[in-house]
């Protein structure tokens, strides 16, 4: 489970895209809860990459359905660097 600080940072990046005002929690999904299309998700990933100074490859996206999964992936990559 990702740390609160990581999640808060990611919530901050999602906020401008959260047009439906969906509740942001680790289990929030990009496709259903936030209604983001795949292109928007890719742009969001680019912002997360720059925020954490990491590479989050496109290959990983199919496995990242929730905000919590992204936060976990980010911490794992940060830890490896």
């Amino acid at each position: 489970m990702a740390q609160a600080k990581t999640l808060e940072t990611i919530y901050g990046l999602i906020a401008p895209l959260n047009k439906k005002d969906a509740e942001l929690a680790p289990q929030t999904t990009f496709a259903v809860d936030l209604e983001l299309d795949s292109l928007t998700v890719m742009d969001l990933v680019a912002e997360i990459e720059d925020e954490f100074d990491i590479v989050l490859p496109l290959n990983m996206l199919p496995d990242l359905e929730t905000v919590g999964q992204v936060a976990d992936a980010v911490e794992k990559i940060v830890g490896e660097n």
Partner: protein
Amino acid sequence: MDLLDKFDSIVDLRASLPFEKADPFKVVIDEVISETEAVISGRHTILAGTNNYMGMTFNEEALEAAKTALDDFGTGTTGSRVLNGTYGGHKALEATIADFYGMEHCMVFSTGYQANLGMISALGGKDDYVIIDADSHASIYDGCSMGNATIVRFKHNDAENLERRLKRLPEDAGKLLVVEGIYSMLGDAAPLKELLEVGKKYGCMTLVDEAHSMGFSGENGRGVAEELGVEHMVDFYVGTFSKSVGTVGGFAVSSHPKFDVLRFVSRPYIFTASLPPSVVASATKSIEAIRRSGNRRAHLWENARQLHTGLKKAGFNMCTDEAESPIIAVHLPDVMIGTRFWETLLFEGVYANMAAPPATPAGMFLLRISVCAQHTSEQISEIIARFKRTAEIVGLNID
């Protein structure tokens, strides 16, 4: 469980579009009058939405060569390039393209889509990185999905954003930077000098897709890299015969000494039938013609500038500040105006392309016009006039 249920949202979306008399995804061209005119649903229509930039579809030498090849070699090869599907014509075409690009080697694929699939999936191995522009064509994205490399995406045409990403990659890893000369939806050209310089600085091999720029960019029509004088930084070019060349097929060229091995490892090259000899013959003649078509190139650019200037002056919201290619795209505010505009324009006798997400960046609705070297300046004026009339009919405020 019906496997097609998962597409219900797409069916609903299509059904919600307010087309009354025509559907942009079901247009049938009944009769081709020339490179620039056709009969659609019984109406005489100016074609302003093809990729026939250099107007080569009725080039006399290409037509003649295709007819002769049909008589001499039949309708098809019925086989793979690496089995029974390589004829003398395929080798001659590869030599013609290699010579056109001033490079050592060329592989001809059966479509441009397969050329990108075949090159990117073969070059990017398990431990390698493929770095692509965010607005890349579907064939580039699909080539990435097909291969085993790690895929990194950078902001469209942004060298600084690219550098930030390259900095994070392992220094000694294999890296392939993939960019296009001209992007097909907005018709914008890439700052290839800046992008390729950054790529080279971080040890990338580079692949430039000139699908939409071959024919009219550069003194010989090789593309944007020639135009910008940066060909020395290009390791691989990918291109197509289905736009300026006027037929179908794709190619890759390179001077890499080991290039030929790709014929044995590129699955989209191997596991499909090779191009019919008639297509190969017409592509060869068309590329030879393109090379010496300096005047036609100049006229195409005049057409593009005339159209861009005319629409801009009329008050349309242009996607680029000036004409960067023969693709001139106009922003439309939403899907309702977009569909009505496209349909009304068709009934005014102009065929253009409606482009909508996900084919367009950032959720944009566009009307995409592509001009041909064979359009007369009178036809371009007519297109502008009919655009203005259409805006009036659909209530699009352009002032």
